[in-house]
Symmetry: C2
Subunit: 229 residues, 2 copies
């Protein structure tokens, strides 16, 4: 019987694909308005994306690199315009899915423990939970930076299970990525739910989740079937 | 005759003393709400202030140090609650004085060049100008990080003068700190205006500005007297 539900954050509890796209695009628009010489937004976006892929999303000088790539001398009138627009847009789109909070509440009512297992920096992932207004729902939050390993290691899941006093087959993991969330949680022996949201919803690889859902509230039925089944 | 007006940012163009106080206080309240064991807000504020004085305002782990000092294990449920409250409050109080924009507009109408000479990190100081909505008013913005020296060096002022094509006696500098803004701008040969705002308004040291004002709009009269005088 399932005693705990563990969640990924990005694209699982809120739409991070949409958030990231608009934040980058609005940053580019602001930088163009502030004097960036390349006025083609789509071309800028493509170059910026290459830079982010190269340096990683936690690097903090993406816009400096963009200017360099476009042959523009470092200019904080432009860079800071981008940063301000980026952060404002990130905040504006940091909203739970319409059914995130009702679903978490329902799971609580059903007596289930809730947890988060996610990759990223502690400060950033906690900020997301707080701004989403859902930080109080979770009995444990395990972040890769904290435990020193990502989801490819069993340990990140095992830490969560230990804290919740659950065996692997008593917990279910909900995530958007077949290659990370589902593949790794499967290995640990958790039940797995793939949520078809965000840019990874089209991924096709031979990894099988136990369940596939289109929207978060569908896990209620899965768990009720488990409970009564 | 005066051709250019140069400004400090903090406590000169907006109330940074008030902003900083409320941002720190709201961060403490949020951390207490999130589980900080010391519930005495004033005592927490005092400890936090000591940490900021010790590590500098641009250090990014003040709240981690606070927890350590209180004997609490690093806990991002608490730290990130503080960070979110801090940033939200900073944004909320990042508003120009009631007469900042009218004064800058009037100076523009009078045909004067405008500039900023300030200490700090480029990203942060530019962010302030952008969020204050005044970045387009200035013909030049010179920040200590950019030129590699603070206001104790003549060079930071000389860079601004060169960019504005002004001699020292053709420019006036407006700032809140007698010991930094006024003392150093005096040395360079600029006319100086002390604005009595923020925590340095009570400072008494034997440094004399050419003018003292209580609110920004008073510089209009000073400059008109200069023009017609």
């Amino acid at each position: 019987m399932i005693k705990a539900v563990l969640f990924d954050i990005d694209d699982t509890l809120y739409n991070s694909t949409e958030q990231t796209f608009h934040a980058r695009m609005n940053a580019i628009k602001a930088m163009i308005e502030a004097g960036l010489p390349l006025k083609d937004e789509k071309k800028c976006y493509k170059i910026l994306k290459e830079i982010i892929d190269q340096y990683g999303s936690n690097y903090d000088k993406h816009f400096n690199k963009l200017l360099k790539k476009l042959g523009v001398k470092e200019n904080y009138r432009i860079i800071s315009a981008g940063i301000v627009a980026y952060h404002d847009t990130k905040s504006a789109y940091l909203k739970p899915y319409h059914d995130t909070i009702p679903t978490l509440l329902k799971l609580k009512e059903m007596g289930l423990k809730l947890g988060v297992v996610t990759e990223g920096r502690m400060e950033k992932q906690w900020e997301k939970l707080i701004r989403l207004g859902i930080q109080h729902f979770f009995d444990t939050v395990v972040i890769s930076e904290e435990v020193g390993c990502d989801k490819s290691s069993k340990r990140i899941f095992e830490v969560a299970l230990r804290r919740l006093k659950c065996k692997p087959n008593e917990a279910i993991y909900v995530g958007d990525r077949l290659d990370k969330d589902i593949a790794n949680a499967n290995k640990v022996g958790l039940k797995t739910v793939r949520i078809l949201k965000g840019k990874y919803s089209k991924m096709k690889i031979p990894i099988k989740p136990d369940f596939t859902i289109k929207t978060l509230s569908e896990i209620i039925k899965i768990l009720k079937d488990d409970y009564y089944g």
